[in-house]
């Protein structure tokens, strides 16, 4: 069975597009022997997390809301690599990607433990996917780029990713720059 890469595409039809980003990333992954599954999150009806913690203390491991959010969480766990592909909003993710991630907390346990001195949640599963974040800035903004990269690394700690890398570029960057950045970020993680 091949390795599965799941692209969580937070691009939207009315804003910054991630189409070009996906067109670059998908062939790179396939050339390296990965099966690629793309989730176009703007086209999937997912209710937002309601912060009830039911996924931890009522229906452990599964969100209490029975919609496509459950399927996204399942697909994340059953991946070898997850790629967050998103327009960058204030340094963070676009709302459609964030909504899917908010609904993915059932894949970890409520219990706390200390990780490198900080309190984080305990693993629910033995294995978790590697993580690559690819962000498209609306314009050149070093601070937002740095926040994005920090956010991806913070998520990797909380979601127990065994390897993480991220890259960010502006929608106005040259095609050559964008290709080079995406190739670099993916190779850093799929090469490990």
């Amino acid at each position: 069975m091949g390795k599965t890469a799941r692209i969580l595409d937070g691009g939207r039809n009315d804003g910054i597009s991630t189409v070009r980003t996906r067109e670059i990333a998908e062939p790179i992954l396939r050339e390296h022997g990965w099966d690629v599954d793309v989730l176009r999150l703007a086209e999937i009806d997912i209710a937002p997390c309601i912060g009830c913690f039911g996924c931890w203390i009522k229906t452990p491991g599964e969100c209490v809301i029975d919609d496509a959010g459950r399927d996204v969480a399942r697909r994340i766990v059953q991946s070898d690599l997850v790629v967050y592909m998103t327009p960058v909003l204030f340094g963070g993710y676009a709302p459609d990607l964030k909504k899917a991630l908010d609904r993915s907390i059932p894949i970890i346990l409520p219990f706390f433990r200390r990780v490198k001195g900080e309190v984080h949640h305990v693993k629910r599963y033995t294995r978790y996917p590697r993580l690559v974040g690819i962000g498209v800035l609306p314009d050149r903004n070093d601070e937002e780029g740095e926040i994005f990269e920090t956010l991806v690394r913070r998520n990797a700690i909380n979601m127990h990713a065994p390897a993480v890398e991220s890259t960010v570029f502006s929608a106005t960057d040259s095609d050559e720059t964008i290709v080079r950045r995406i190739e670099w970020a993916l190779s850093e993680v799929i090469g490990r």
Binding site: L101, R124, I147, N155
Partner: protein, 223 residues
């Protein structure tokens, strides 16, 4: 009451109703402090507002009425809840386009479920970018760990919120002394881990699922 009293808008960023939200409760404490100084106020529940055009229009109208805006929100996966982000995106777009006769100031109150307030740091930076993109004047941020205190460190949190009221009313930046008050965990980490884990087990037991707490419904099939 200072001469600068004005109109305060609380943007409640939790999915929970304002009256049940821990982060909104901190925002309400700021409202009380400001009203004692002659301010008027209103609150908008962002998750409700962003669901309809009417709600969104009312939200941006409230933004236009405000002299100071505060976002009070829980930390979700190192950032804000998705609908809160969507609302802020809409507000930033609106504020960039408007012709406003005076500057609007912005503060944030972040509450995370980990004991370390520092885990709000990335989200706080994100909110500073929101303020810059929305052309709002950044005043400062109150960053709380441990679910907002849960009774621990209550006196220090009250003091920090008083400093925030002072900063808003007197049009000054939030005092760095706030970090001395609330910058550190309110409980030793080992105790938070021990107590938190016991709390989760008790809650699961009350729901009759204690034996399934570690269930793996999405376990990958072998092979």
């Amino acid at each position: 009451m200072s001469e600068s009293s004005g109109h305060f808008l609380l943007l409640a960023g939790s999915p929970k109703p304002i009256e049940k939200s821990g982060s909104a409760a901190r925002g309400n404490a700021v409202i009380e402090g400001l009203e004692e100084r002659g301010w008027t106020s209103e609150a908008v529940h962002l998750h409700t507002a962003i669901r309809s055009k009417t709600g969104t229009d009312e939200m941006v109208n409230a933004v236009d009425r405000a002299d100071v805006i505060a976002l009070a929100a829980p930390l979700y996966v190192d950032s804000l809840p998705a609908p809160t982000l969507r609302a802020l995106e809409r507000i930033a777009a609106h504020c960039r386009e408007r012709e406003h006769e005076h500057s609007t100031r912005f503060v944030s109150i972040l509450v995370c479920g980990f004991v370390e307030p520092s885990q709000n740091g990335t989200c706080q930076r994100l909110l500073e970018q929101f303020a810059a993109r929305a052309r709002l004047e950044w005043v400062g941020s109150i960053s709380l760990g441990g679910g907002g205190g849960n009774g621990f460190g209550a006196r220090r949190i009250r003091e920090a919120l008083k400093l925030l009221v002072e900063a808003i009313d007197e049009e000054i930046l939030l005092s760095p002394y706030v970090d001395d008050l609330i910058g550190k965990p309110t409980l030793p980490k080992w105790l938070y881990v021990f107590g938190g884990n016991a709390m989760w087990k008790k809650a699961a037991k009350a729901n009759g699922v204690a034996d399934r707490l570690r269930a793996k419904p999405y376990q990958r099939p072998k092979g």
